[in-house]
Subunit: 437 residues, 2 copies
Amino acid sequence: MPQAQSEPKAESREPKAKRPLRVAILGFGTVGASVARILVERPELASRLQLTHVFNRGVTRKRADWVPSSVVWTDSFDDVLAAHPDVVVEVVGGVTPAHEWVSKAIEAGSSVVTANKMLLAAHGPELLKVAATRGVRLRFEAAVGGGVPLIHGVREGLAGDSLTGVAGILNGTCNYILSRMSATGEPMDIVLADAQRLGYAEADPTADVDGFDAAAKLVVLAGIAFHRHLRMPEVPRRSIRPLSAADFRYADRLGCTIRQVSRVQATDGGFFGSVGPALVPQGSSFGRNEGANNVVTIYGKYGGESSFSGAGAGGPATAVAVVSDLLALTQGGRQSEAEEWQPASFVAPPPLPYYLRFIVKDRPGILAAISTAMAKYDVNLDAVLQEPGYPKDRLPFVITVEPCEEAALHEALGELSDADWHADPPLALPRLMGQDS
Amino acid sequence: MPQAQSEPKAESREPKAKRPLRVAILGFGTVGASVARILVERPELASRLQLTHVFNRGVTRKRADWVPSSVVWTDSFDDVLAAHPDVVVEVVGGVTPAHEWVSKAIEAGSSVVTANKMLLAAHGPELLKVAATRGVRLRFEAAVGGGVPLIHGVREGLAGDSLTGVAGILNGTCNYILSRMSATGEPMDIVLADAQRLGYAEADPTADVDGFDAAAKLVVLAGIAFHRHLRMPEVPRRSIRPLSAADFRYADRLGCTIRQVSRVQATDGGFFGSVGPALVPQGSSFGRNEGANNVVTIYGKYGGESSFSGAGAGGPATAVAVVSDLLALTQGGRQSEAEEWQPASFVAPPPLPYYLRFIVKDRPGILAAISTAMAKYDVNLDAVLQEPGYPKDRLPFVITVEPCEEAALHEALGELSDADWHADPPLALPRLMGQDS
């Protein structure tokens, strides 16, 4: 390849002959162990990748007899650094101390493969820049979509397009919870407890149900798709916690179900997007996505829609993504400065239709009060739905509204916040009908 | 990247400084023109890709005023070769003379990006080998799945897995025809004529409806997924032509619809696979795939299933794939010998359940004759379906059979071939219920 050549840098360790890349794994949990297992079980990889170090806190209890005896087990990151591995695989997770370790590895001239979405969302731009400067590479297929080769697909497979949007179901835990609530009519607390028992949800489910995990993945996807860095605290985020069985019943009446949808769209003025529960048509790819699966649709100016789906998490699936990144590093090439993420911020989204669910202590005049507040902010009501069988003192009903500005809707709901007929705070969900579902 | 370096070869033109890759396009039809348009419309690509030549027979009538005046238009392939482009984009199609041009370009030290599935199915192994020898690259994202970044996804994104199977809807024309027959109940000839009028099908639809197009794509996918070359004439192939409106009615009674499915699976003994119409559940990803869209599922030992879907064809979508390949070439790297396709052949498929449709001149004893023939070859009948409303002298009815060897089934049907009650030859369709639909 004519363009492949670059002048050897004095500080990088360029081998003259073809030899396997020496790989150090930081973190020997489910993913780290699965990476090691693939490297051991696929002998055809031995000429390209050689596992040399496994780092873990209290490493002695981690040592596995199926790992070749040549591998050094250590609980000292400095030992790893001193061995100058060609690639450091970071599957520790969390921003601290992963950030320090990854930074030091890159500074020392090692490429890094990471599954760490939180690290990338917080420090991606800086790490990409340093990697380009140091002539090494930072790859992170495993950070989004587990075994779904989404990052490769967007970064390389769709590089020829001008991408305009990304929308997906990026959190398997939420999708497990919501698709099961949709199928069985069970309430959130029962399903969440089961998800925790089955290992689909953490003891503290905040990162999943409140959207932090999906928001970090969305930031990484936006980085890859648009080369822009949306700051994670600025991603509009809503929790799935307020959803009730009644919401699924009303959604069903509208031909819809509810999913946690993460989306970001590029416009001339900037980016808009969000993470949170939304109504999606039952027959859409999001509505049909069951269990812990991920599904992501990418929109391009030239190529239209492309969708990717598969297992979003799990040790072996995520390990496949890590090993794929390692193999990409053996192919050569360099980190392009064009891959860096420039700062960007969010603009207000365009008008969307909404689903508004109220739970009220029923009495005359409630609908009149709501209609008046909505009219004041130019929010047009579409339909009012009320299913039978609910108690008068906790009566859920739904109003759908025509496409309106999100800000106007919240102003209107704010007007009603003092009303004493609320049994629960109202819930507003966007209705994604077309290209975002 | 430590591994990126290779010794400069005397015969390859390695630039010392970073400059755009010089690109020559062979063929200025829909795809070629769309490639040129993306290069012109995306100024951020100018530092990486520079269109220098457009080759076409009778090129003067092709000349487009929106192409920069620096581009040389020529109808002489030797002119292109003499200019030593870094990359030749081959979007002419067909094996002859594309094979000669691509071979000469590679021999002369140019990388090649091609959308030509027929060329790859016939000569992929040889071209990949020569490219590796010459230190250039051969890329073909556009050859399968149009705008769906399938080749990237399989080759790079899933490289870390041991892939075990590929199944997909690879021909948009067949899918348009079959999904419309399924939706409207129209007969094949009406829908095919409409598809031709709308530009979805060629005047001679053989390549699409008889499965040649999908078989070539399946050969390319198998090359990428398994590094094996299945010879195209050996791909078991059945046409969709015998399908009638009655088949969709009977499929519906079984909760199924009919799609042209292409699949190949790796076993310890070899590969099995086929291209042709099959019953798939209505709710499956294949059954739900409408219009000219493509959808492909890849099965991996570690990562499970990953699916890709999107526009399978069209100038702009295919051009995106070509430009993505061009951008990949600017990243450097080299063709690995591990990407070469070794010869492989097909073995008999495992037992599958089948749908058998007979169209008969009705009389007593037909079912007895069929049952007897099936029993002789150990094919167990499952159910007999007969819908009302058909004439006695052309009565379609269906027998479903339990999983059986394909060879045994055809022996049994062969026993019946002399019977004088056939109004049409019987039709046997595999029923793909689980992982292949």
